[in-house]
């Protein structure tokens, strides 16, 4: 939302009575200012950072002399005046060492301000890598047997673009209608996609995968680790630095979707917390905002032939071949029978399922047994990044076994 400059026309709009309250307004204005400075962003550790800030505009010296209307994004000094920004800082319990200026910068998308010194692209790159690392190590250490496709799905559920966009919304971040220098820096600044633009192109070309033009070739799951991104989606290959300006110019004209801009902001905020407040604070931020979300991993599985998988698993692990046994049943000859079938390997029950036919019950029992295998979680899970803390206990290797059943 662009905010109109009140100073110019406020005299003609506000009535005489309203203007008599000038002193009151002034006092309240200081109260609001006080609020923004009384937020955890205030303490003395900051002064150094504030003093460093003027260095940033020196990269583009023409910037301070320009009018705010000519700037692509709000100037650095506007961050101290924004109550919206200060309230966002306080609402997220951001560490006090993270200054408002950096928070304002993390809200500027590359589509709004192409200058890499003022947009959040660099912060987002760092934050993206941190989020991916923390989430993947949590998933792999907590559920060491999880199949790769389910790991991809879980990554998407925890730090996928849809989740991050939802998080930005739940944090109360509003976005601008059009970016500009006069806008309150507390808004998410990005250039919107033109109406009718394709948000998710069906086929992404220009990836690093060899023979990508052969669409009917089978893509193995393992190759997705190498060539695709953390959600198993194809990703565009990196561009050499010589072609970078052209590509950026092309992208900036296009604009980005709200979902993409929001997820870039969340990435950038993670990177900013890491840079200003250090590793423990970044870890805490991740645990409080990302890992605390609810995700039932067992809902992410979709089996197509569980009986075959289970037979392969038992053969691989030298267990007795799985046998389906009827634990209980009712109404076999009726219209709505119920069978409870258990899968046994030798005398041990692996899982059980109920269904309206023996076939369904057996299928569900196989699914339950396979989930029992895949969702094994060791006790006292530690992630590798916990070793970065001071005085951490000696590292014990995490549980690793053959895990996924490969047919």
């Amino acid at each position: 939302m662009k905010r109109l400059q009140l100073q110019r026309w406020s005299g003609s709009v506000l009535s005489a009575q309203a203007r008599t309250g000038g002193r009151l307004q002034q006092r309240l204005y200081t109260a609001i200012r006080h609020q923004s400075t009384a937020s955890p962003a205030a303490p003395a550790g900051h002064d150094q950072l504030i003093r460093e800030q003027p260095q940033a505009p020196s990269i583009r010296p023409s910037r301070p002399s320009q009018s705010r209307y000519n700037l692509p994004s709000p100037p650095v000094e506007a961050a101290r005046e924004s109550a919206k920004l200060a309230s966002l800082h306080a609402r997220l319990y951001l560490p006090s060492r993270l200054p408002l200026e950096t928070l304002a910068r993390s809200l500027v998308d590359a589509s709004a301000d192409p200058d890499p010194n003022f947009n959040n692209e660099s912060l987002a790159t760092l934050g993206h890598d941190l989020l991916t690392q923390y989430t993947s190590e949590y998933l792999v250490c907590t559920y060491p047997r999880l199949p790769l496709t389910v790991v991809f799905a879980a990554m998407y559920a925890y730090v996928g673009p849809k989740t991050l966009a939802a998080m930005a919304k739940e944090w109360g971040v509003e976005s601008v209608a059009a970016p500009g220098g006069e806008v309150d820096p507390g808004y998410l600044q990005f250039r919107r996609l033109p109406p009718g633009a394709e948000v998710n192109p069906e086929l992404i070309t220009g990836t690093e995968r060899p023979h990508e033009e052969e669409t009917h070739w089978r893509k193995s799951v393992t190759s997705r680790v190498v060539y695709d991104n953390e959600y198993g989606d194809p990703v565009k290959a990196g561009v050499p630095p010589s072609e970078l300006p052209e590509r950026e110019a092309k992208n900036n004209n296009l604009g980005v979707s709200h979902e993409q801009a929001s997820s870039t902001f969340v990435h950038a905020l993670m990177g900013a917390v890491y840079l200003h407040a250090g590793r423990p604070a970044a870890k805490r931020f991740f645990e409080q905002h990302f890992l605390s979300r609810h995700l039932n991993i067992s809902d992410l599985f979709n089996f197509s032939s569980p009986a075959r998988d289970l037979a392969r698993l038992c053969a691989r692990e030298n267990f007795d071949a799985p046998v389906a046994r009827i634990i209980s049943e009712t109404g076999r000859k009726s219209r709505s029978p119920v069978f409870v079938v258990g899968i046994y390997s030798g005398a041990d029950k692996l899982g059980e399922g109920a269904g309206a036919s023996l076939l369904e019950a057996r299928f569900r029992a196989c699914v339950a047994s396979l989930k029992g295998w895949y969702l094994y979680s060791p006790l006292n899970v530690r992630v590798p990044s916990s070793m970065e803390e001071e005085g951490a206990a000696p590292w014990k290797p995490v549980h690793v076994d053959l895990g996924e059943v490969i047919i």
Binding site: P40, H294, N302
Partner: protein, 137 residues
């Protein structure tokens, strides 16, 4: 492919990790001339400062609304708004109203009949007649 992953979005549990205060903005409107705003003006002069200091998460805006009753408008994270008219109220009562908005979730008021509402699964699972100790009847 034997197993496919189903894509979902992890659902938020506000307060399990960090707690995000749902009230993100409070607008105080007053009138300098009207008598119904007397309490509001006193509240703005003497109490709002402390309120704003105690609640840095809330963006506070003060603006005149001439020839109208004073109101407090709360904007919430879920996009809804709540407006309370505070005409002829004393500053202490206005403080209570502001606190009411601060503590509201922004949702419409609902009657809760169940003691617990949870997305967590029951510890003992969903009861089924075919499980557990099957005693003869």
């Amino acid at each position: 492919m034997p197993i496919q992953g189903i894509r979902t979005v992890a659902s938020a549990r506000n307060g399990v990790g960090a707690f995000i205060l749902q009230c993100k903005q409070l607008d105080f409107h007053y009138c300098d001339w009207a008598g119904s705003s007397r309490g509001m003006v006193a509240y703005l002069r003497h109490h709002l400062h402390a309120f704003a200091k105690a609640n840095p998460q809330i963006e506070i805006r003060v603006s005149p609304r001439p020839n109208k009753h004073p109101v407090i408008r709360g904007v919430f994270v879920n996009g809804r708004e709540k407006v309370i008219c505070v005409r002829n109220l004393e500053p202490e009562q206005i403080g209570k109203k502001a606190n009411l908005l601060r503590e509201a979730s922004g949702e419409k008021l609902k009657r809760t009949t169940k003691p617990v509402t949870s997305i967590n699964e029951s510890v003992r699972g969903i009861w089924s007649p075919y499980h557990g100790g099957l005693n003869g009847v």
